[in-house]
Amino acid sequence: MTSAYVIWVDNYNDSWRRGFAKLGRNSYSQNNWTGVALRQGQENIDMSVVKIDGQIVPAMPDDPLLFTQQAVDMILMGSVGPIDRSTIDLHNIETIPSLYDTSLLVAWAPINRVPLKPDPSNKNIPRYYRDVLSQAPDTLGNFHVVGIFEENIGSNEGLASIIKKFYDSQGMEAQDCHRYFAMTADMNIHKRLLRVICDLV
């Protein structure tokens, strides 16, 4: 089993731009660099490709909105347990069970950190989630810098160039590429990548 990691990309020099009063500010405000890092997984997750009838099951569906209904159901179900979907009309709030009483804010109270993060020592939190929170997977200890690319990911050309670098360096073109990859990005990059990856124009 190969260890799981997530590729993280973002504009690099926002903090530099803020740090300079005048000197070099214009250069840094153009976001000409892209930071790349790997966030390491804490558990063994098998990232090997899955094949059905000899064909690789794609890492993403053709239609990114394919599971919208399931996502809405999960929002409701996660708080109130299994639901009878036939009794709920999402356009009529009277038919939606209240999410407040069973929300994490109440079930895992008190939650009062900003940014929001449940306290791992809170006994109201189930043991499994406390263990995950205790591992603190979001700390910099699990964040490994790959480097800074001399590309502006804010431009379409820079975005394509960076994706192509990943594509080539990870050997995704090869027929025997045997694992999946996961990439996370901010709103702007994610939106543009979805347009490319799912042919949404």
Partner: protein, 126 residues
């Protein structure tokens, strides 16, 4: 770039593109902040911090989250009263006031609690 060469389908065969987890939370908070700023967040802000500027679309995510968290914590104290005011049989409120009450109930009972760590609730059979 946005051509029909098939590059997109080739890429998504091995790679999934995800919104950064923090950005999901941030985006949802922004939407709630913007949507309910006229009826709650702006008046509350000016009540708490007189003479300070309120930003409907450019408030920091930390500001938004901490105000939502504290407002949601106070919700049980006013919930019964507002739900009672929202009953069809209750008169005396203007249409605008009724709408305001219904929107506040929606905000605290559905909108804010819906912002959560969805990923930990994904059952294995999905």
């Amino acid at each position: 770039m946005y051509d029909v060469s098939g590059g997109g389908s080739q890429l998504r065969k091995h790679m999934s593109i995800n919104l950064c987890w923090w950005h999901n939370l941030k985006q949802a908070s922004h939407t709630i902040w913007k949507k309910f700023s006229d009826i709650l967040w702006a008046p509350l802000w000016h009540h708490l911090y007189p003479d300070s500027a309120f930003f409907k679309t450019n408030q920091s995510p930390q500001d938004e989250l901490v105000h939502m968290l504290h407002a949601a914590s106070a919700w049980p104290d006013i919930r019964d009263q507002l739900v009672a005011m929202n009953l069809p049989s209750v008169g005396g409120l203007s249409v605008n006031s009724k709408s305001l009450v219904a929107n506040l109930i929606f905000l605290f009972d559905y909108a804010i609690p819906a912002v959560k760590l969805l990923i930990i609730f994904i059952p294995a059979n999905y």
